[in-house]
């Protein structure tokens, strides 16, 4: 029940607000999440972002955005290139520092935490461009994914990851940089899973993959989410992402312009326009 409340808050800065009458009224968040399934709600972490501002060297990219990724759910963030999605995820992972605003993990602020602290607290990011260790084997990449875990935990997670991506198990000794794009993306996700995250952030996981690989990857994400991990993903592949997501946010030019249940946004015109990069409100 408490989750319903949380989904409805914090108040989102919507396109119509503070812009006079001109803005299109987007969909409000749906106050009726899918029923929480037993274990699903217990493992994951809840992420809440409040009025986050961030940018590069004085150039603001995010103008005070707020969002919530509820426990054990898949939340997708869509928006055209340059909307600030990657900046948001980098800030969440602690690689960039916000100018202002706060990020809460299960209600506790993440203020001065280093990227390593955040991994310890149960977060993991699969970054855009993957950033694998190209000259190291698949096994070594996965081992480093579990860098902060105990040896026993690493061995256990290695098996679990191979269970999700059997292809990685067949290629443990291959150098990561010599694999296909799809396989590298599986490895990037597998490496992030090695720290047994309770909140997994993914930046454009389907970028550059063959359609068959995209299907396979979304199936794997659905499976990871079924195990209770909270997912927050950025996607260009909007309609496929909305199909697996519970909630969706639309980001445009550093501002959140729409939010709601994924099924509700799926048929929405606005998404189409934002995705195609057309101007929304002016």
């Amino acid at each position: 029940m408490s989750m319903r409340m949380r989904v409805a808050q914090p108040p989102l800065p919507l396109a119509g607000e503070g812009r006079g009458e001109g803005g299109q009224r987007p969909l409000a968040p749906l106050p009726n999440p899918l029923p929480a399934g037993g274990e699903r709600g217990k493992f994951g972490l809840e992420l809440e972002v409040r009025e986050l501002r961030a940018g590069y060297g004085g150039l603001p990219v995010l103008h005070g955005i707020s969002l919530c990724a509820p426990v054990g759910r898949t939340t997708v963030l869509v928006g055209a290139n340059g909307a600030g999605k990657t900046t948001l995820l980098k800030t969440l992972a602690g690689v960039m520092s916000p100018v202002s605003g706060s990020v809460l993990l299960d209600g506790k602020p993440l203020a001065g935490d280093t990227p390593a602290d955040r991994v310890r607290r149960g977060m993991a990011l699969v970054p855009e461009g993957r950033h694998l260790f190209p000259d190291m084997s698949v096994r070594e990449n996965l081992e480093l994914g579990g860098y902060l875990a105990s040896r026993a935990q690493r061995d256990k997670m290695l098996e679990a990851v191979i269970g999700i991506f059997p292809r990685l198990g067949e290629r443990l000794t291959q150098a990561a940089g010599t694999m296909s794009g799809g396989e590298q993306q599986m490895l990037a996700i597998g490496r992030a899973l090695m720290s047994r995250p309770r909140l997994l952030l993914l930046d454009e996981p389907s970028l550059g993959l063959a359609p068959k690989m995209v299907d396979e990857m979304f199936a794997a994400l659905a499976r990871i989410n079924r195990d209770g991990t909270t997912l927050l993903l950025i996607e260009q592949n909007v309609f496929q992402a909305l199909a697996v997501a519970d909630y969706a946010y639309v980001l445009s030019h550093g501002e959140m312009i729409a939010a709601g249940a994924a099924w509700e946004l799926r048929g929405n015109d606005l998404i189409r326009r934002v995705y195609l990069g057309e101007a929304i409100a002016n």
Partner: protein, 291 residues
Amino acid sequence: MNFYLFIDLVVASLVTGGLYAVVALGLNLQYGLMRIMNIAHGEFLMIGAYLTYTLVRLTGASPLWFIPPMMVVLFLLGLVLHRLIFRRLAATSPSPEAMEARSLIVGFGLMFILQNVAQLIWGGGMSGQAYLDEPVKLGEITVAANRLLVLVVVAAASLALVLVLKKTLLGKAVRGMLQAPLGAMLVGIDTRRLHPACFGLGLALAGLAGGLLSMVYELTPSMGEPYTISALIVITLGGLGNIPGAIAGALLLGLVETFGMYYTSPSMKTLISYGVLVGVLLLRPKGLFAK
């Protein structure tokens, strides 16, 4: 060329190349991980050599006793220098290129300071204390014992470093930072702790080379400079951040220099090594082993 002379030259090449490898491995870690263009790297070799020499003169004991504690001292000096200078430099540099340029300037400053401090303490002339300067017969081949010792120690040190980087989780983390800095941060590798440690390790390795050199050659306050240059050539040969490449590059440079000097003259040493550098930069600018 007769067989014994050939073996002599090969041993001399391996000794030179092995020392280059130890010096270059440290510089490669510093540059590859932190973009610190430590032009004063050879000066730490010189400090290591003088420290070892002084302790040997004071106590009369074998230099081998003093090399490990001297390496610890240089490691700690590395942590202090990183904390006082390079951490701040990294925090205020807007780009990796700026970091390279600024650390180069700082490196020159460190070089002058260390050379002049050494001159104040030990004087500008040559000092030396040969250790184990006696021939050893290996079958038909005769080698000076101290050179053999240098060869064994540098080989063991290089092998140990490669094994640590290859087999341990910490070593894999260092390689991870070299190959994908952002990826390494995201899996929780704490660069704020590993960077100073790697910087200190670089100094300790330079010190090891210096301690070994003090058993074989005369010391002067400027003895480190040519090793910095050689290390830079070795890194260019082996490829930036490539550890096995640096070892192979060091042995190759040792061979080319030694045989080159034999066939021309010892005064040609610098010309030969710069020739190698120019050749590699022209033909394989990413290193001999780049794919």
